[in-house]
């Protein structure tokens, strides 16, 4: 048992750093399949990152030290947040009562500094992206917390490891409607936090329509590499919340558990790819409506539990 914990604690950081680019590759591949193309190789994101990290640097005259602090602090915050999440349904390397609040606020810290780095360039396009990112977060955050509240009400826990731990399976049978609503809500949060369609199109070619991509227009070379890797880690971390919900089975054997986790995470990536292939990007004005919808979903999920006896 003890060695199991040790294995978990060793595997999680490794997976946290190495797996994320693969998710990007899977999403791209899925989209290519839908479009009838062969698409880039699955491992292309690793090559891209490696290339970026070795490149030289170009900096704008306008920028200050905030410009490089942005990606660096964001990356650290996201990775630290990743250590709080029970990736494979076990226990996270770091767990304590209230870690879910730290989790959400670490992601917010990353967002804060990414947006500041964008404003540091003085470009109105990047300002636009920063404004949109911060605005969307204002509606995504309550949705996330309502979802976590609902899970806490069913499991009676105060840390992410409790919420996504053993009682998930019991919750699915005792509070099915809530779990479905929370799942939908969290998936929407996953999409908006990672700037995916329908909130933002990572492949758009027009600066005016981007959100996350436009914030990092001026970052190049190693800084862009850090940004991309950080974003991919965030995708993995939030996917793991969804995985924690949809895979209610808790396997004891560590290798099997991690294999199951990787498979499920890649499945979430495929789901993101499917959404991206079958949906259009929403008009900017309708994005807040969808986010309020997510709040309502998770909110209803929580309210359904208020009357019941957990």
């Amino acid at each position: 048992m003890m060695s199991d914990r040790a294995v978990d604690a060793a595997v999680q950081p490794l997976l946290l750093l190495l797996l994320p680019p693969l998710l990007l590759g899977v999403i791209v591949k899925t989209k290519a399949a839908f479009a009838g193309r062969v698409g880039a190789p699955l491992l292309q994101p690793y090559h891209d990152l490696w290339k970026l990290l070795r490149k030289g640097a170009v900096l704008s005259r306008t920028t200050t030290s905030v410009f490089l602090a942005g990606p660096a602090i964001t990356w650290v915050a996201v990775v630290l947040a990743g250590l709080l999440v029970p990736l494979a349904g076990g226990a996270a390397p770091i767990r304590f009562d209230g870690d879910l609040i730290l989790f959400a606020y670490l992601l917010a810290l990353g967002r804060f500094f990414t947006a500041l780095a964008a404003l540091d360039t003085g470009s109105s396009f990047e300002g636009m992206g920063a404004a949109r990112e911060m605005t969307f977060a204002c509606l995504a955050e309550p949705a996330l917390f309502l979802g976590l509240l609902a899970l806490a009400r069913t499991s009676g826990g105060e840390s992410l490891s409790d919420l996504f731990g053993a009682p998930i399976a019991a919750s699915w049978s005792s509070a099915t409607p809530t779990m479905v609503l929370v799942l939908f809500g969290l998936f929407i949060v996953l999409l908006v936090e990672n700037s995916r369609i329908p909130f933002d199109d990572p492949n758009t070619h027009l600066e005016l329509t981007m959100v996350h991509e436009v914030m990092v227009l001026d970052h190049g070379g190693p800084a862009l590499g850090v940004v991309l890797h950080g974003a991919a880690v965030k995708l993995l971390v939030l996917s793991s919340l969804v995985v924690g919900l949809v895979v209610p089975v808790r396997v004891d054997a560590a290798p099997l558990r991690w294999a199951l986790f990787v498979a499920a995470t890649l499945a979430v990536a495929v789901a993101v790819g499917v959404v991206e292939s079958t949906m259009a990007r929403l008009r900017l004005l309708y994005v807040p409506n969808l986010l309020m919808g997510a709040c309502l979903l998770t909110g209803f999920g929580f309210l359904l539990l208020l009357g019941t006896h957990p």
Binding site: A57, V76, G98, Y105, R111, A131, C138, A140, L149, L217
Partner: protein, 691 residues
Amino acid sequence: MAASDTAASLFALLPVWLPLLGALLIGASGLPGVFLSSRSRAGERLAVVLHGVGALAVLVGAVASLFVASSPRFELAWSLPFGSFRIEVDGLSAAFLVPLVVVPALGAVYGLRYWSQREHPETGRKLRAFYGVLAASLVLLTIARDGVLFLFAWEGMALSAFFLITTDHDDPEARAAGRVYFIATHVGTLALFALLSIVFAQTGSFGLDALPEASASAGACAAIFALGLLGFGLKAGLMPLHVWLPGAHAVAPSHVSAVLSAVVLKTGVYGLARLTCMLPHPPLYWGGLVLALGAISGVAGVVFAIAQHDLKRLLAYHSIENVGIIVMGLGLALLGRSQGRADWIALGLGGAILHVWNHSFFKALLFLSAGSVIHRVHTREIDRMGGLARSMPVTAALFLCGAVAICGLPPLNGFVSELLIYLGLWKTLAPADGSPVAAAALAVPALAMIGALAAACFVKAFGAVFLGVARRPHEREPVEAPRTMLVPMAALALLCAAIGLLPALAVPFLDRAAATWSAAATAGGGAPVPLRTLAPVGPLGWITVLSAALWVGAAAAVLLLRRRMRVEDDQRVPTWDCGYAAPTARMQYSSSSFAEMLVAIFRWALRPREHAPRLRELFPKSAHHRSHVDDVVLDRWFLPVLRWIARKLLWLRFLQPGRIQLYILYVLIAVLALALSTVPVGELLKGLVPR
């Protein structure tokens, strides 16, 4: 033996003597300057020294009070009319005293350069005199344990704050803001008069002690509670009683704004905390009401902040938001008392008081650094600034520190107190009996939304003020603030970082305060919160570890990336302009554009006003577009009603000819009438009429 006994008792009374002595020193700090020449610099220096020594004395007293078993109390053999001079430093007082003296003292140092006697010979002496009185009244009202003494200190604070807000009395904006403040604060005082009268009617004394259960009827308690919410809520700036706050904070000198926002608002919170610990058995709805009011204040405050164009008004609305968060903690503690849950009390009240500390430190930091900026660029309009991080790097870094803290982001202090309140709210989920208390957990998403909105607002503020390039040429190229102003700011930033890193340092104060609060309240029965309930709260240790990890990790990552991306200054290029060849500084995203989407989402509450020209001709002349968000509560609700009342009462104007002698006569007549009203007329008549 006797001598050592006296010494021991003197020592035991130290925690109450020192604050009193300190208050006297602080209160007198500005007075010597009044008698010196308006050009003399000796007065302002002496004021800072006296203030500093006094503040240190109060601080030592507050810390010492933690080490004595029972809270030290002291009664001066001098009776005020109606009341007595009774003071005591209990856990609640000690916890509030810390920020209440630290911030004004640092503000006084800052004021040396910000409002120096040399630059402001006419107003400098007045400012310093009232600044001292304000800071001293703050201390006195926190340690006063008699209602009348409390009211004296309260009025001392209210009046000196008025003179500080109107320091620049030639400015019509300052006079208008001062007037609104004056009316608001006196409406509050009136409510407190009524409150104390009810307390007197119930207990026969003006003491601020727990009401004995036997003598307090439920109706009287409800009335006291409602009046307290009005009186203290007005001071704390709870929505919708915040109307005086944005204007006053905007026009006052920046270190006064810092004190107003960081400290004076907190006396309202202190009042609420003191009042609720006087009242036995709070019903469930009190906690719910306070929690809901806090959540409304929090969300509405930050939403209004986002829409502001004036840097100091923006910060002022954030004070409303933060008072909302504090009051949420207080509401949770009240719920805990009505439900008999010690952990809710400890986390709610502990979180509230820690947030009082934290908000004092980071908000003062923000106001002071905003003041440094305004001192250099001579405008409060955010959209006229830009690119100041280049010319004022230290100020920028300090403002950024305050911004991260106020958004409640780790690793700074704002996160710790919000975490305690979050944890407390989380615990309300636990009752499995389907009781409505679990609905209190709905404050969690409100708190989450407040955090996200605050982050958006401070990205906007920091970005528009310090990043990018200057939106319009400055008359004089701004330079870094002088050291006298930077040092107090840096001290506040260090405090923010220290509490974020080692929250356990504040825990003794919080534990003691929570124990005092619940012990006084449950004097009649029920289990008080034992001391040291917060200390073992698991996260605090983890916070230290993770904050340290975050600091180290972030520093290492930033250094690595900077080394990897070193570019010589002459090899830098323009920002990518998306193909447009001639960008100008005015084409940057402005703070209003940044806030536009959020303002649109909350349009129903903010009611922004736009003045857009209508273009009729084919070749229109140059035109202007202007949009602003007024204070909806003041400008749409209160002022129209008050104006209507004023119109209806015009016929009473003859009473107000503007001669002060006449007004004194009115006071005399009122006092006489009051005195006569005590004469037992019926008895007299009975005596006169022969049987």
